[in-house]
């Protein structure tokens, strides 16, 4: 499979404030994201997730190592716009990334910047709004929409660039459960139906359950990399770096501590229920 994003010993240090020691926010990160995959990045506050995300479309440039987007080096000024077009970014606060005060104008912002002709912009705007289920809000004022709707507009604004990859940096963090579900469903649909690579950064464990792959960051290091089942089975290690596994895994881990023998790979609620049922049935015998 082709790689979408590849990092080689990616290191980054923010310029330190006066009198403070410089601390790298990313240290020798080696990661390769395959085309069409759905990757979740986990990590506690300040572990370097946002810093990593901002490297993926050249908002930040590596201070050491390199990052390639489909083979293009982000440090190469000549391909900057092409990289930003291919990797769209959605941030946490929907209010601070909506530029225009009419939904369709906002979605049109990126294609306008790319110099695309008007009728093609029209087609892309309608297509992008349909892709996130917001086609009935074309002429609405964004500030009157719900958080989840605003965030879907922000996603549409990125889709209108026809990117190969979307990075969502805690895009669900400020939303209520309903909004969170809407945004997550949109991301999964874009990944499934259009083959867009998704990099989802989150604090919210259940969002990682349906991913193809989970990557865990800690203090600037990439510490774990695997399928959700592999990662969540390492409950102890996760806890040591300040992360909790999904409730299902935590529950089974607790039960295992009091003498049960449950498989920690059962990460969805149904699998967990089945595992406990089977264990109880075995006990009966």
């Amino acid at each position: 499979m082709a790689t979408m994003i590849e990092t080689k010993d990616l290191t980054f240090t923010y310029p330190a404030e006066e009198g403070r020691e410089e601390m790298p926010a990313l240290r020798n990160v080696n990661l390769s994201v395959e085309k069409g995959s759905f990757v979740v990045v986990l990590g506690h506050n300040g572990s370097g997730k946002s810093t990593l995300a901002k490297h993926m479309n050249a908002v930040l440039l590596p201070t050491g190592g390199a990052l390639y987007v489909e083979g293009m080096d982000t440090a190469d000024e000549a391909v900057l716009l092409e990289i930003r077009r291919r990797v769209g970014m959605v941030f946490q606060n929907p209010d601070n990334q909506i530029v225009a005060n009419v939904v369709e104008e906002d979605v049109a912002f990126a294609p306008e910047n790319l110099g695309i002709p008007s009728d093609e912009i029209r087609r892309r705007v309608d297509d992008a709004l349909a892709a996130v289920g917001m086609e009935n809000f074309t002429r609405h004022a964004p500030h009157l929409l719900s958080g989840g709707q605003k965030q879907r507009i922000a996603i549409a604004g990125v889709i209108a660039m026809e990117p190969e990859c979307i990075v969502l940096d805690e895009a669900t963090a400020m939303l209520d459960p309903v909004g969170r579900r809407e945004v997550l469903a949109s991301a999964h649909r874009l990944n499934r139906e259009r083959g867009i690579t998704v990099v989802l950064i989150t604090h919210h464990m259940p969002e990682a359950v349906n991913a193809d792959r989970v990557v865990v960051m800690n203090d600037g290091y990439l510490v774990m990399d695997g399928t959700p089942r592999e990662i969540f089975a390492r409950v102890g290690e996760l806890r040591a770096i300040g992360l909790a596994a999904p409730d299902t895994v935590e529950l089974m881990d607790h039960l295992n501590k009091s003498g049960w023998d449950l498989p920690l790979e059962a990460i969805t609620v149904e699998e967990c229920a089945d595992a406990i049922y089977n264990a109880l049935a075995a006990e009966e015998k």
């Binding site: 930003r84 941030f91 606060n93 601070n96 005060n101 049109a108 294609p111 306008e112 790319l114 604004g157």
Partner: protein, 268 residues
């Protein structure tokens, strides 16, 4: 209190006034203002007033919405009226007490000045009420684009204006939130001397500014991520183009302004 701010408010609609090209409307407003400032006598004022009334009727904007916009300036209006009444030389109205200082000429100028301010505000508000801020900034950018040759940053100014307009509701909402939070901690914004009240605003303004800067920073990053790189090579979703109605309206306003200037010269 914050709800009274009508600046940049737009009432969507489908009337002729809404459908006109924003550049036409900008030109019309400029011509209207010129006419208003050239008007001298009853006849010319009546003509400009009739033009304004026609525009209001065509746009179907409620008169109440227009008068609400006047609230912010009534102090200026009263001040102008009083100044003009007392400080214009001429024949006194009557030979008693204060009235001795009020002249007929003063009353006349006061009435005209007040009318002028009110009509000025109503006319410009009519523009913002019938034109979406985006269309307005697009129109401004387009109309002023010849100035780019003189290195005037027209695109940047238009972008700043449209972002400012976009953030007005967000910042108003935020101000309301901060005010409620401060009130919950016992802050008092409604009583005390003017100095005390001004001082009470500090705990609102400080967090508001900090948050505005943070927003600006995040917005700049988000815009960069969406390939924003200045005005060069930018296209637009809605391309502006004049229709027959635009030419008619422009001719109408040119006739209005020229007519008013000529009549005013003739002493009407």
């Amino acid at each position: 209190m914050l709800k009274d701010i009508t600046l940049g408010q737009y009432f969507p609609g489908h009337t002729l006034a809404h459908r006109l090209d924003p550049r036409t409307k900008l030109l019309a407003v400029v011509l209207y203002i010129v006419a208003l400032f050239c008007a001298k006598g009853v006849v010319t004022y009546a003509i400009v007033m009739a033009a304004l009334a026609t525009c209001i009727l065509v746009s179907r904007v409620k008169l109440r919405a227009l008068t609400r916009g006047l609230k912010a300036v009534y102090v200026i209006v009263i001040f102008t009226a009083v100044m003009n009444m007392f400080f214009t030389g001429g024949t006194p109205v009557a030979d008693v007490w204060l009235l001795r200082h009020i002249t007929f000429e003063g009353l006349r100028t006061a009435v005209f000045m007040v009318l002028r301010i009110i009509m000025l505000i109503m006319g410009t508000f009519l523009l913002t009420y019938t034109t979406s801020p985006i269309a307005l900034t697009d129109g401004l950018e387009n109309a002023l684009s010849p100035l780019k040759k003189l290195h005037v940053p027209v695109h940047e100014l238009a972008m700043m204006m449209s972002i400012a307009l976009r953030f007005i509701p967000t910042l108003i909402e935020e101000t309301d939130k901060i005010m409620s939070a401060q009130k919950a901690r016992g802050a008092d914004f409604e009583s005390g001397s003017i100095f005390k009240r001004a001082k009470a605003l500090v705990p609102i303004l400080v967090p508001l500014f900090i948050s505005a800067f943070r927003r600006a920073d995040e917005l700049a990053t988000a815009m960069e991520c969406r390939c924003y790189h200045g005005g060069d090579g930018r296209t637009a979703l809605h391309v502006l183009h004049y229709k027959a109605a635009d030419y008619l309206v422009m001719i109408g306003f040119v006739v209005l302004t020229v007519g008013v200037i000529v009549l005013a010269r003739m002493g009407f």
